[in-house]
């Protein structure tokens, strides 16, 4: 490695030569530095790209008078998730008449919390293929909660879900629950 080939002395000249110096160069520090840089660049390339998740929104109806398609979903086939303040999360499977303090249940974002709830509701659904999760973030929710729920949808492999505004009657019960009213 990096040695200079020194021509053999032909022996003719009678010049006095100084003692031959070794031409080997110690390459260890250079190689060390090389590997250090490799490690550095390897780490920076792999981790600089952020992850993304897809989000598709439903199109808005073009014509104001055009009624949106009848999307009434059977209550037993759906679950409404209300994202509240301070990372609180509520769920119910009721309509306006059935919803009250008792039927609006609270859970949390843990593995044992909302994921279990969704899985159970799905298992009890009459038609599992049509099981729909309706996500209703309140104005108190933060972006993280919203992403967490979308993430939960990916984990539980629920492809049928919708994000919509909270209904006034749900909001009233929710406010009661968190003690704002």
């Amino acid at each position: 490695m990096a040695e200079v080939q020194v021509k053999e002395d032909s022996g003719k000249g009678g010049k006095v030569r100084s003692k031959k110096q070794s031409t080997r160069v110690d390459m260890t520090p250079m190689v060390d530095l090389g590997f250090l840089l490799i490690t550095f660049f390897m780490f920076t390339t792999t981790f600089s790209k952020p992850n993304v998740m897809d989000l598709g929104l439903p199109a808005k109806p073009k014509d104001k008078n055009q009624k949106p398609p009848d999307t009434e979903i059977k209550l037993s086939n759906s679950i409404s998730i209300i994202i509240g303040k301070d990372n609180k999360i509520f769920y119910h499977q009721q309509d306006q008449q059935g919803l009250n303090d008792q039927t609006l249940m609270e859970t949390n974002f843990d593995r044992e919390g909302i994921r279990k709830v969704i899985e159970q509701a799905k298992a009890n659904a009459a038609d599992k293929d049509l099981f729909t999760v309706i996500i209703k973030p309140t104005d108190d929710a933060v972006y993280k909660n919203f992403v967490d729920i979308l993430d939960e949808m990916a984990i539980t492999k629920n492809e049928r879900y919708g994000v919509t505004d909270i209904k006034p009657w749900e909001l009233a019960i929710y406010k009661k629950k968190v003690g704002e009213q």
């Binding site: 390897m42 790209k49 992850n51 929104l57 972006y143």
Partner: protein, 186 residues
């Protein structure tokens, strides 16, 4: 030793050439975590940053020629004309966090000052003034293949994000990405 050294330096050259350094962020934004393992593709991407305070930044596509076109379109729409130095400054800018009325003075700032600039109001995005949506729309007018990524902070209030989503629905731009960090990394 020689062979190893050769390979090592070959790798080194490769990594040096392929690395793209992350540009410094305008403002610290910590994206929420998710299980998604999909990586952000870098093909003509525009990014909307939402800070914890709900301030919007718009990051146009990298391509300088197309950027200038976007600026022209926006200028036309808001009745602002930009000089050549301003256009050059715009093609270099990292992200915009000012309303159209202040964009001209922002672009005239020296580069170091632009870096230190902290937006107080960001790009307006409410029911009456949807400049952010206009940025997206004008970019799409230049090239309809642009993709949009939204980067929000963990503590960003949901109504801010909702207004953005609603605005995007208004212009029928329905597919985009949310930037997240890998679960377990923070």
């Amino acid at each position: 030793m020689t062979a190893m050294c050769d390979v090592a330096f070959l790798l080194l050259t490769f990594f040096i050439l392929t690395t793209q350094f992350k540009k410094p962020d305008v403002e610290q934004i910590k994206p929420p975590s998710s299980i998604s393992e999909k990586l952000l593709p870098d093909a003509s991407l525009m990014t909307i940053n939402v800070t914890p305070n709900g301030v919007f930044y718009f990051q146009p596509v990298e391509n300088a020629a197309e950027r200038t076109q976007v600026l022209d379109n926006m200028g036309k729409k808001y009745g602002v004309t930009f000089s050549t130095p301003e256009k050059v400054a715009f093609s270099k800018v990292q992200a915009i966090g000012v309303p159209m009325s202040q964009l001209k003075s922002y672009l005239n700032l020296p580069e170091e000052k632009q870096k230190d600039f902290k937006a107080t109001e960001g790009i307006p995005m409410d029911s009456t003034n949807k400049q952010l949506i206009d940025w997206v729309q004008q970019s799409l007018a230049v090239n309809p293949n642009y993709k949009l990524a939204i980067k929000g902070d963990v503590t960003t209030k949901y109504p801010k994000v909702k207004s953005l989503f609603e605005g995007l629905r208004d212009i029928d731009f329905l597919k985009f990405w949310l930037i997240t960090s890998q679960e377990g990394k923070n």
